[in-house]
Amino acid sequence: MKDHLFAAGHTACSGCGQVMAARLVIDASGKNTVVVNNTGCLEVLSTKYPESAWEIPWLHSLFENAAAVASGVESGLKYLGKKEGTNIIAQGGDGSTADIGLQALSGMLERGHDILYVCYDNEAYMNTGVQRSGLTPFDTNTTTSPTGALAVGNLRPKKPMPEIAAAHGIPYVATASVGFPQDIQKKVKKAFSVKGPKYIQIHVPCPLGWRYEPQLSINIGKLAVECGLYPLIEYENGKLSGVKQIQPKPVEEYLKAQGRFKHLLSKPEEIKKIQEIADSNIQKYGLKLPAATG
């Protein structure tokens, strides 16, 4: 197992989607990489003191700081004349990216540091026990957005993080999914081929928080993309430059596979609302494959 830059023996749950993605990202990036990590599952599971799963220099400083600390690492390496040939990754979960660390991330994008920011989007604060975050989708049942008499689930739609990052006019923004592993590596390599700040958001299913059997991570990631709820898109210099086209499946297939949406199956009107979100994504990004080629 010496060939992976993220070693075995970490303490992730069985079937963790985030670890699949993290290993793909670091292997695609190569050994001349410095990783700065936000607080979250990935930080906790990979560095159980005094052990570390990383084969490369790795730093952690507080919850929201990865983007800011990575900016310092980049500037420091530049000053020492060692920046050429070194990749820098700042990474964190959806909570530390879209909620707690958003201003540090925005600062990094605005200052134009040559850093790839990777957001592992498992759609809630999984490390502390499934609390809702800004990237939790509409109607999801989490511990802080429970289903009951007054609410169906999470009241608010998902925050459009890729658009927020792209609005900074940075060279490269992409979304990826663990359901398409080769696509993740392709996008990471493409990101490192351009200079400047880059943002990649990877959809990483979580068996514990989403409540499904651990072997299904890849299939559920794929379903989210194929029903239009997680469009795989690329922005270059603020403009939409690529989408993965699909033959849209009904969102019900994705919802019924997970315990966090179980309460919706008896509420067709709520499923209709989620289908509308998927349909608007499909229309907005032009996700639908032309009928002739399908």
């Binding site: 075995a8 023996g9 970490h10 699949m20 799963a53 990383w54 084969e55």
Partner: protein, 84 residues
């Protein structure tokens, strides 16, 4: 340098997470394998290795038995069997 410092890389290998398996473990039949590498690419533990077709095998010291490899194998060449 302040704060906890871990000097040696990859030391998590001291954790033999194979003991986490509860019921099932993968069996690599090495019969119909076409060497597509998908099992090795997606294994969350990164503990599957192989060079060519019919050589892929996982390290049971680390395998947590999630079963993702068995599900993704296009040739059904990996089975989940009961732990002895």
């Amino acid at each position: 340098m302040y704060g906890p410092l871990i000097i040696k890389p990859g030391t998590s290998r001291n954790n033999k997470t194979g003991s986490w398996r509860v019921e099932l473990k993968p069996k690599f039949l090495q019969k119909d394998c076409i060497g597509c590498k998908m099992c090795a690419v997606i294994c969350p533990e990164g503990c599957i290795q192989g060079e060519a077709k019919n050589t892929y095998i996982c390290d049971y010291e680390f395998c947590k038995g999630c079963g993702a490899c068995a599900l993704i194998c296009p040739k059904k060449d990996i089975l989940m069997i009961k732990e002895e």
